[in-house]
Each structure stands twice: as structure tokens, then as C-alpha cells.
């Protein structure tokens, strides 16, 4: 992970959640230590086995957190949207990363040294509680994900992923097209299926008038139906 270009950005507005909790002194220290780094589309932000050093906050762009599984088959564990924090779990657990992070598209990331964050939160219970909440929510999602990915069928898993993408990145101006440009392979590794199955099931959804496709752009036509398919499994 190489340091990129440094920017002048208003941290107070971009790091809102954490900023609000800090004392004035802490803010000043943080302002001097935080670095803004750019990543190009498909650029790796960190790798499995890397030693975690920074708390990252995604300012702009989209990031995937993924893991290579049995036989190198990779799986997307979660996707990050602007203003979300990531990359801190492994440091807190005193582990190296067990996941990797890659930019789906051009990204701006704020990097804050983890030692600083740990020092702050050991003396600031409210900041600590902020992280406890983040981790608790994510752990709940992970537990739910285990059941969804192992028990739902292909259609249910894909429907769920489409809804999750809509939830994370929203819709374009037409109020229907999911605001992300994703390869079928990524959609597959997010839904735990082969690329063929993602393509096939996507066409089925098109035939059933649940969605419409234009290249990589996916338009949700019948969201209710999608919810139902996701729920039924």
C-alpha cells in the first residue's frame, strides 16, 4: 500500500462521526496525522496477511472487502460506501488482515494511524463505544450472512445482493438503476455463486420482468418481487 497524493480536505465535515466525539486537543493531533490517499479503479488498498496500520474512512468511491477461499475462489465479504470506516478490525484483534480491500472505482480514502485511534479511545469512552457499536452491527450482519449464504438458493442470494447494492450505493437519477458498475464476476462472488450462475439467474430475472439490464447497469423494475425472492430463499 503506497502513499499517494496528499490533499487539503475539511476533515471536520468528512470525518463527522469521529470528529464530533473528540476533544479539541485530539482533533488537532488527528488533523496533523490523517492522510488522504487516492486509489485508482481496481487498485488494492490492502492485502490478506498485511499488518493493519490505519483506520480508513472512505471519502469518495466504492470499495470491496474480499477473501480468497478454497482453491483461490474469492468471495466478497462486504462492500464499503462513502463515510464508512474499514480496516480497523484486524488491528483491534491483534491480527494481520484476513481480508483484502480493493477499489471498485476511483477512491479517496482518509488514513488515520491505528495507534492514535487506540490511544484516543482508551481515554475516551464515547469514542470507544462508537467502535463497539460499529463492530457489533457488523458482527450481527456477518451472522445473518452465514445463514443467508448457506441456506438460500441461487435466486434468493442474487436477489439479496441486488437489494444490498441498492441499499449501499443507492439509485441513479431515474430512481431505478442501481448506482454501481459491477462485473458479473463480482456480483457472483458477492452472492457466493459461479459467474455462469450469476449471468444465468440475472437473465431469468430479466425474462420475468423483475429487472432490466443494459450492459453492467441493472435497473430494478419490481423491487417487491425481489424482496420476496430474497426472503423465500
Amino acid at each position: 500500500m503506497a502513499a499517494k497524493k496528499k490533499d487539503v480536505i475539511d476533515l471536520s465535515s468528512s470525518l463527522l462521526d469521529i470528529w464530533r466525539i473528540l476533544t479539541d486537543t485530539e482533533r488537532e493531533v488527528l488533523r496533523r496525522s490523517a492522510r488522504i490517499v487516492h486509489f485508482k479503479k481496481n487498485e488494492l488498498i490492502y492485502l490478506e496477511e498485511d499488518t493493519p496500520k490505519f483506520l480508513m474512512c472512505l471519502f469518495t468511491g466504492k470499495v470491496k472487502i474480499f477473501k480468497s477461499g478454497v482453491g483461490g475462489r474469492s468471495q466478497i465479504i462486504r462492500i464499503i460506501r462513502p463515510m464508512q470506516y474499514f480496516g480497523y478490525r484486524a488491528y483491534f484483534a491483534r491480527e494481520n488482515y484476513v481480508t483484502a480491500a480493493m477499489a471498485f472505482e476511483s477512491c479517496t480514502v482518509c488514513m488515520i494511524p491505528m495507534e492514535l485511534i487506540e490511544k484516543f479511545l482508551r481515554g475516551n469512552g464515547n469514542l470507544a463505544f462508537f467502535f463497539i457499536q460499529l463492530l457489533s452491527v457488523d458482527l450481527g450482519i456477518a451472522d445473518q450472512r452465514v445463514v443467508n449464504l448457506t441456506q438460500k438458493h441461487v435466486r434468493g442470494r442474487l436477489a439479496e445482493s441486488l437489494l444490498a447494492l441498492k441499499e449501499s450505493y443507492g439509485l441513479e437519477e431515474d430512481g431505478a438503476t442501481i448506482n454501481i458498475y459491477l462485473a458479473r464476476e463480482d456480483l457472483a462472488s458477492l452472492s457466493n455463486m459461479t459467474t455462469s450462475n450469476a449471468i444465468r439467474t440475472l437473465s431469468n430475472f430479466v425474462n420475468e420482468r423483475i429487472i432490466a439490464i443494459d450492459g453492467r447497469k441493472i435497473k430494478i423494475i419490481d423491487e417487491e418481487r425481489l424482496h420476496k425472492i430474497s426472503r423465500m430463499g
Copy 2:
């Protein structure tokens, strides 16, 4: 969750991790608020959708945390061993429980009101960091579990579960028999497979001299082999 019998137990030795971090005043408050509750074998400790109220520390016995999935098919999410904390995630996330907890066998559980824990940790960064670490480790395990359960085959998943049970609950005096008495159905829902498949694969392992079975007692004969099967998937 009904209150059971109250015991006199030396909290300072049983709640070691948290106890060590607290101040004297906090310890006194905790001593007055903590309650010891017994659960019989197969008794429910909390249910999905319940509102979380207590941090629980398992003193003696064995507990399973599970989740009912698609079509009521239940899945064991994690198993708790003595001296482990559980039941706190949902409270921190401001959610109701998304899992349920049941005693595998007769249990003693220490219950501490979560409001108290939250008050303590907001003023005690080290206690807060203790929970941050617990959550971070569990989140890492959950991420790994997603990949293991979705990508490994039946043999790999069962081998992994057997090793996890040994890791959690240890071996009996013979240094080979896993120290837990588990129905095939539980073994299946821990390994994400049908009961038939758990039984069948277990017999295969017996035929291959990897394990030996005596009713529900499982003796590990060739642990190296088990590790290899788990790794290969």
C-alpha cells in the same frame, strides 16, 4: 428467561478478565448487581427477537448460539465455553437478539445488567477496549466462517467442526475423546449439513480410521488427517 437460583460465588476469580480492569468502586457495584442463574440441559437462555438485557459469562457448562434460517432450518453460529462472555452484541448494536442461546448441558451463567456495563465502559477505556477486542476477534471468525461453510465440502466442514469442538471443550482423560456429548443433529447444524450427511460422513471417518465412535462420544485417532481434510475442504 426466568430467574433461577442465586448462588454465592467468588466473582473475582470467575469474572477474571473484566474484574481485573475495573476500579474498586465499580467492583462493588458489580458485585451487588451480578446474578448467578442455572439452566438445565436443553433449556433456552434467550430467544431470537428477545431484548438483550444482560452481559452473560458462562461459569460452567456448554452453550450453543444458534439461528433459525430458511424454512426453520437452524444453524449453530458459535459455541460458548466456560469463562466466555456472550449475549452482549445485540445490546451494543441497539438491536434485539438475532440469535438464540441454549444450554447443551446443565449450566451456570453470571448475568450482569448491560446498562451497568455500558456505563462502566464509557468511563473506562480499558474495559471498552476489552469488548472491542472480543468483538473484533469474533468478527474475524465470522468472516472466516462464511468462506469455510460456503466453499468447503461436507468432509471438510465436518472435520473442521470436530477440531473446533476439541479446541473449545478439550479432550477427556484418555487424551483423545472430545469432551462433549452432542447429538448428530447438532453436529450437522454446526457444520451446515443435513443430519443424514453428518451421520454418513462420520461413519466414513470411522472406516478410514480417522476417528472412533461410541454412541455420541467421538474419539480423535488421526488429528493430522482431520486437519488436512479441513484445510483441503
